[in-house]
């Protein structure tokens, strides 16, 4: 995929895919699709707001130093229509996030997958299970 319209830009626009990708703009203004990140941390804050949800995780590194990372998800409206809610992920939950890094190099990225460590369940992908 070496077209102008890069794979990540396409991914962020794709709302019908099961992955929690999708957004209201081209990813390339903000993210570098070549910089993939996989990181695990505890949910410290969840801003369940438009146009993109942002959640924050505390990531404990070597030597016990904690870094806070922020991650974007699609519009909450899209996820709510698929059955997900702001309680699908709770403060303190350990989650593994795979995504792409912000171009500015800060601890920020676009989440492509979010997995709950305790159960292995993938969050915000496809339809939520009926409660």
């Amino acid at each position: 995929m070496r077209t102008r319209f890069g794979a990540a830009a396409f991914a962020i626009w794709m709302l019908s895919t099961p992955a929690p990708a999708g957004g209201h703009h081209s990813a390339s203004a903000e993210f570098d699709a070549t910089k993939r990140i996989k990181i695990t941390g505890a949910l410290s804050k969840l801003n369940w707001l438009n146009p993109h949800i942002i959640f924050y995780i505390d990531v404990t590194g070597d030597g016990g130093k904690v870094a806070n990372w922020s991650w974007e998800l699609p519009s909450p409206n899209q996820l709510m229509r698929a059955g997900w809610t702001r309680t699908s992920m709770k403060l303190g939950d350990m989650v593994t996030v795979e995504g792409i890094h912000a171009r500015d190099g800060s601890n920020h990225g676009m989440a492509m997958t979010v997995t709950l460590v305790s159960t292995g369940k993938q969050l915000f992908a496809g339809k939520a299970e009926e409660p």
Binding site: F5, A9, S26, L49, P51, N77, P131
Partner: protein, 272 residues
């Protein structure tokens, strides 16, 4: 009737109990035709308003982003030929990898792109039809006047994101004409087709049964395209749900990571 009511009541309880915190996402739509199991009968005939017109009311969605990405999807390249001005603007947008799309900066999608991003509700009255849009950068509305007024002259009206719209009935088709749109809007997100302030959009809404509606969009913009072109999109009713609030609350936290290389200004369309 009692049996049907019981089914609907049970369905209501089921849906409402499973939707805590989800506003009215699973709110059963009142007064719509239903099958014996309580599900909406999407192939029922179109209902009519008191004045005998097809009732277009309801929440609608294309159910795909294909036409948001490319309004000309499925058309032949020969049908959608850009003028030199439009081709230059399109090239700049593509070269900059779409980062200048106004929607990324919480600005409106414009007409007709706004029809194909997310759900919208039609509210129909004899003299005015409202289009209520749930876009993720803000809830927006268009007013389509059917009280006989004419579209404003370009010289008398300030160009806007959503333009000025009047409607009329052509048989069972609701025909909406829109002008007064801002120069340099985006018709297609991925394909980045620009339009000019001369754009005249015609939208023809034809509800074919209870659950389906054809929306034929004609783009007539002599400054941007060598000839008018039309595409038809199948819209689907979204029953038993509601629009959600949407504003740009998180935008500041997003844009602080945006690339800091402002674009050269796009050239304005040719003056008359």
């Amino acid at each position: 009737m009692r049996g049907r009511r019981t089914v609907i009541a049970a369905l209501t309880t089921l849906l409402v109990s499973g939707s805590a915190g989800a506003q009215w996402l699973n709110q059963p739509s009142p007064g719509i035709p239903r099958l014996p199991d309580g599900k909406p009968n999407l192939s029922a005939p179109v209902t009519r308003t008191a004045d005998g017109r097809p009732d277009l009311s309801g929440i609608w969605s294309a159910g795909t982003l294909d036409y948001y990405m490319d309004l000309a999807k499925g058309l032949k390249p020969a049908d959608v030929q850009l003028t030199p001005w439009a081709a230059a603007v399109r090239k700049q947008r593509m070269d900059r990898d779409h980062i200048d799309d106004p929607y990324a900066f919480c600005l409106p999608l414009g007409v007709p792109r706004i029809n194909f991003r997310s759900e919208f509700k039609i509210v129909q009255t004899p003299s005015l039809t409202l289009l209520l849009y749930e876009t993720y950068v803000g809830m927006m509305f268009r007013q389509v006047f059917t009280d006989g007024r004419a579209l404003p002259k370009a010289s008398d009206s300030e160009p806007t994101w959503l333009g000025y719209s009047v409607g009329r009935w052509d048989g069972d088709t609701f025909v909406v004409e829109t002008t007064g749109l801002r120069d340099g809007g985006w018709l297609s997100t991925r394909e980045t087709y620009p339009h000019s302030d001369a754009l005249h959009v015609t939208e023809r809404f034809r509800r074919t049964d209870f659950g389906n509606m054809e929306l034929a969009v004609t783009i007539n913009d002599p400054k941007a395209f060598l000839k008018p072109w039309t595409n038809t999109v199948a819209m689907r009713l979204q029953p038993d749900t509601e629009l959600l609030e949407a504003f740009c609350d998180n935008q500041l936290a997003i844009t602080q990571h945006f690339r800091d290389d402002p674009p050269p200004p796009e050239p304005p369309s040719p003056r008359d």
